[in-house]
């Protein structure tokens, strides 16, 4: 019933690899990518069957030299809740996925 960061990280990586993979950044597709990543992650997390509420966030950004910084802060129970953030990239795209799990 614990929040296992390694398992979550593998789920996220698989979701992003299958959704974006080596595709170049395309404005027309990025909306579908972000939706697919969060939905895939959430469905895999729900299949784990653990007593958690989950929040999955996904950021997809084009690589063109812009600076990007992401931060998060949580007011929760440190003994039952946890988070996992994965930074992924290919030649044209950055993708940052965060999963927050809050024990029931």
């Amino acid at each position: 019933t614990a929040f296992v960061v390694e398992d979550i990280s593998n789920i996220i990586k698989e979701a992003v690899d299958t959704t974006i993979g080596s595709s170049p950044f395309q404005t027309a597709r990025v909306n579908a990518w972000t939706s697919a990543v969060v939905e895939t992650c959430l469905s895999q997390l729900a299949k784990l069957g653990k007593p958690f509420k989950y929040i999955v966030t996904c950021i997809v950004m084009q690589k063109n030299g812009a600076g990007l910084h992401a931060a998060s802060s949580c007011f929760w129970d440190n003994t039952t809740d946890g988070s996992c953030t994965l930074r992924w990239e290919n030649k044209t795209t950055y993708c940052i996925v965060s999963v927050f799990g809050l024990g029931l």
Binding site: L45, Y54, C74, F75
Partner: protein
């Protein structure tokens, strides 16, 4: 009652006639106010309402305000935004666990897309996302509130 609301909604786009009707029927005025408050609450979300949005906007303005994007300061800014938001939210004293996320991106033409998905209790939990910008950067702050 329904006939009164319908007639007032038709006059909503004609300010002069609305003023006349308000002066004549205070009961209709209270019904319209009740209706508008509910529409506003529905738009904001079931549990995470205006106070949270106000907290976020104040925190972002205080941390970034009229600053220009600087790589050396953005780390401190994003930390400041999330910590200020969280501090203000906890002061509200509501029985929620909170998660605050902040994204700061330099404006130089890059495309950015964010998405979130939540597995929670729709009746008690909610979220609020605020997009802020100035001449040199974008800031997107999301607050998730999960009832205890």
């Amino acid at each position: 009652m329904y006939a009164s609301i319908f007639s007032l909604s038709r006059t909503w786009f004609h300010p002069r006639s609305v003023c006349v009707e308000f002066a004549c029927s205070p009961r209709v005025l209270s019904l319209v106010f009740f209706f508008l408050v509910n529409v506003f609450l529905l738009h904001c979300g079931p549990r995470v309402l205006c106070p949270h949005r106000v907290c976020v906007l104040q925190s972002v303005d205080a941390a970034i305000g009229g600053s220009t994007y600087q790589h050396s300061r953005v780390n401190q800014w994003s930390s400041s935004v999330v910590e200020n938001c969280l501090g203000q939210l906890t002061k509200l004293g509501k029985p929620f666990k909170y998660i605050v996320t902040c994204i700061i991106m330099q404006k130089n033409g890059a495309g950015l897309q964010t998405a979130t998905s939540c597995f929670w209790d729709n009746t008690t939990d909610g979220s609020c996302t605020v997009r802020w910008e100035n001449k040199s950067m974008y800031c997107i702050v999301s607050v998730f509130g999960l009832a205890i």
